[in-house]
Structure formats: C-alpha cells, structure tokens
C-alpha cells in the first residue's frame, strides 16, 4: 500500500503528463490544419499532371522506344523501396503502420527471389527497419531540418531515386506513405513510381503536341515522379499530425482516468488513516 505522500506525488506527476499531452494535442491540431491546407493546395497541380501524363502515356504506349521511366528498363530484379516516415515519435501507430507494410512487401519480394533496397525518408522508420533490413539500406533523406515540406524537398528525393534508376541500381521504385483520410484514419499506401503506372486514361480531347508527344512525355516523366513524391510527403505530413493528435487525445483522456482513480485511492487511504487514529484514541480512552 503506497503512502499518502507517494499517492500525492503520483497524482502530481500524472497531472503534469496530462498537461504536456494536452499541449501536444493542440500543437498537432494547429499543424494539422496547415498540413491539410498545403496538401489541398498541391492537389490541382498533381491532378492535372496525372491527367495529362496518362493521356500522353496512352498515346505513346509502352512499346519500343518509349521513355524508360514509363516502360521500365526491361528488368524486374532490383526493387527500391522508399519508406517515408516522420522525424518525431509520439504519433501513435503512424510509423509502425508504414514500416509494417514495407516489411510485408520486402518479405514478399525476397521470397520471390528479388533484391530489395531501401531508401528511408525520416528517421523513425529507419530506426524501426534497421534491425531486420539494415543491410539493405542504400540511403537516407534527413527531413529533421525541414520545417515545411516544399517541392524542392521532393525534387531532392526524386533526383536520388532517378539517379539510382538510371545507373541501373534499381529497376522498380515503390514509395510507402500514409494517405490522410481523417484525423482518426490514415491509410498506409504503397505506390509504384518507376516505371510509372497510370490508370486507364479517358482521353477527352485531341490535342496538338508541341514538341512531339514523346518529347513532352520524356520531359514530364521526371517531374511526374517528383510530383508523386511531393504529394506523398504532404499526405504523410498531414497524416502524421492527425495521428499525433488522436494519440495525444487518447493520452490526455487516459491521464484523466488515471488521476480519478488515484484520487479515489488517495481519499480512501486518508479516510482509513483517520478512522484508524480515531479507533486508537477511543480504545485508549475506554481502557482507562
């Protein structure tokens, strides 16, 4: 049985924890709004880009002479997995869910006899993957200095990925991130970026192309990769804040419950102590 003083200290410390988690939740809420706005602002570009590229890709096809980023380099041996996670913890299952999906895919590929390489973005995922997949790491992009994800960050990642592809060090590139659906639900998603995959295009209008279709497509594909990565980074940013917000909300609520429980325990012990003292006094008086 803990003493009254212990209980009081305990309640004090849980109260402090609650204050911290509450503050973190509010910060996450503010950041989430900003992240969501950024994700929304980037949407028109990504949508148009995809629409035009899928129309072009349908026109050019994946036959002989098609750009490599679209048709692939004809091999399917080395898979580069780009695992995007956060730089900070305390965000519930956010990082674990991405890592879990990446692990699943990596295991599947290894079983199929493929070579797996992993590029990590954000250090939390790297820490989780290090034990099992540490020897497959080919690089790491540090985002801890980045306050606000910009297109330039995505271009940096894209450049690294494309360099690996062009050097023949990777045949297929897949990115892993959390798609933001709502504050309580983020969907771990994997998306193949090289060779580019498009949903069947519904060509709405016939266009003149200047210069040729192939030239535009060759020009656009690298940008398309960067755009996809940018979208993924933004979605990830919003998801992270959402996950953190709900995790901290839960923590705040748990702390509240715990405080109630401890307070009851504290009151009971105090009452027991008082009763005990009274009994001692009364029985002492009766004995006289």
């Amino acid at each position: 049985m803990p003493s009254l003083k212990d209980l009081k200290n305990r309640i004090g410390s849980v109260k402090n924890t609650r204050k911290i988690t509450k503050a973190m939740q509010m910060v996450a809420a503010a950041k989430l709004r900003r992240a969501q706005e950024a994700a929304e602002a980037a949407r028109p570009f990504a949508e148009r880009m995809t629409a035009v590229m899928s129309a072009l890709a349908a026109g050019v096809g994946t036959g002989e002479g098609a750009p490599k980023l679209l048709a692939g380099n004809g091999r399917d041996q080395v898979h580069l997995l780009v695992v995007m996670t956060s730089e900070r913890g305390l965000c519930g299952g956010f990082n674990s869910s991405i890592v879990k999906l990446a692990r699943l895919k990596a295991n599947e590929l290894v079983t199929a006899g493929k070579t797996v390489k992993i590029l990590t973005v954000g250090k939390k995922g790297r820490e989780q993957l290090r034990r099992d997949w540490g020897q497959t790491f080919v690089g790491h992009v540090d985002m801890s200095e980045v306050k606000r994800v910009g297109y330039a960050n995505a271009q940096g990642v894209a450049r690294e990925v494309m360099a690996a592809f062009e050097a023949g060090e990777a045949d297929v590139v897949t990115i892993f991130y959390n798609r933001f659906q709502s504050v309580i639900s983020q969907i771990p998603t994997m998306q193949q970026v090289i060779p580019a995959k498009f949903e069947t295009a519904n060509v709405t209008a016939l266009y003149d192309y200047e210069p040729s279709e192939e030239a535009i497509l060759a020009d656009l594909l690298p940008r398309g990769v960067a755009t996809q990565i940018f979208t993924a980074l933004l979605e990830n940013g919003a998801s992270e804040q959402g996950a953190r917000m709900s995790a901290m909300d839960n923590a705040t609520r748990n702390a509240g419950d715990m405080i109630n429980k401890l307070t009851i325990q504290f009151n009971r012990s105090r009452q027991a102590a008082i009763t005990k003292e009274l009994i001692e006094i009364i029985s002492g008086a009766e004995a006289l």
């Binding site: 602002a41 028109p44 266009y207 003149d208 200047e210 210069p211 020009d219 656009l220």
Partner: protein
C-alpha cells in the same frame, strides 16, 4: 467586351492565379505562342521565360521555369515547376535560378539542353528588365 478564356496558373505548391483572360502569351519550348479564345487544343512544354496574361484589368506577368501548358478553346492551364509574379521577383532570386541552371549544366550529360536552359534564363532576365 472581348471574349475570354479561363486562365489558371498552378505551381506544385499552390494555385497562383485563376481568372478570365483575353490573351495569354506563353513561352513554349518551340517558341512563344499566344492563346486566345477558340485556340486549337494544344499541349506544349515550357522553357524558362516570361508568361504574360492580358485580362480585363490589365496585364500580369509571371516568370516561369519549365512545366507545360494545356490550351483548349475555352481555357489555358499553365502548370509551371516554379512560377513567380514578375513584380515580386528580386534580382537575387533570379541569380539563384541562373546559378542552379549553371550548376545543372555543369553535370548534365545532355550539354545542349542544359546550355539552352541557361541561355533561356539569361534571355528571361533581359526580358524581365532586371
């Protein structure tokens, strides 16, 4: 009232402009072109240059680097990799762009294309009058 087209300028990070315009002058990869209402549907890639838009309330100019433009009879959407309104452009930012392009040209295997990008930027600087 002159007939108008819907003009959209979108960069990866945000939508910069969206309003009806009478005329859009685009720095296309194969040369400048002007889009007005009823233009044939065209997709063209961009070179670094000045994009001028003439609307009811006057002309607006933007600096764009790379990307593409989608022109239809009723609208012009410009998807630029980077776009800055001309009046917000500082010489320092322009210098940074040029420096980036020079750096890229130094390592690029396609020497002609990279040199052209640098040349385009110098031309753009001249056109912007900075």
């Amino acid at each position: 009232m002159a007939s108008t087209v819907q003009f959209d300028l979108v960069s990866p990070e945000r939508r910069l402009a969206s309003f009806p315009a009478t005329e859009v002058q685009i720095p296309g990869a194969m040369g400048d072109l002007t889009a007005m209402e009823g233009h044939a549907s065209t997709i063209t890639s961009l070179r670094p240059g000045v994009l001028r838009v003439i609307a009811a309330d006057g002309m607006k100019a933007y600096i764009v680097t790379g990307g593409f433009a989608e022109i239809s009879a009723t609208g012009v959407s410009v998807l630029a990799e980077q776009a800055v309104p001309l009046n917000e452009l500082t010489p320092a930012a322009l210098d940074a762009l040029v420096a980036d392009a020079c750096e890229a040209a130094a390592v690029n295997s396609d020497k002609d294309a990279a040199d052209k990008a640098v040349a385009d930027l110098y031309a753009m600087r001249a056109a912007a009058g900075i």
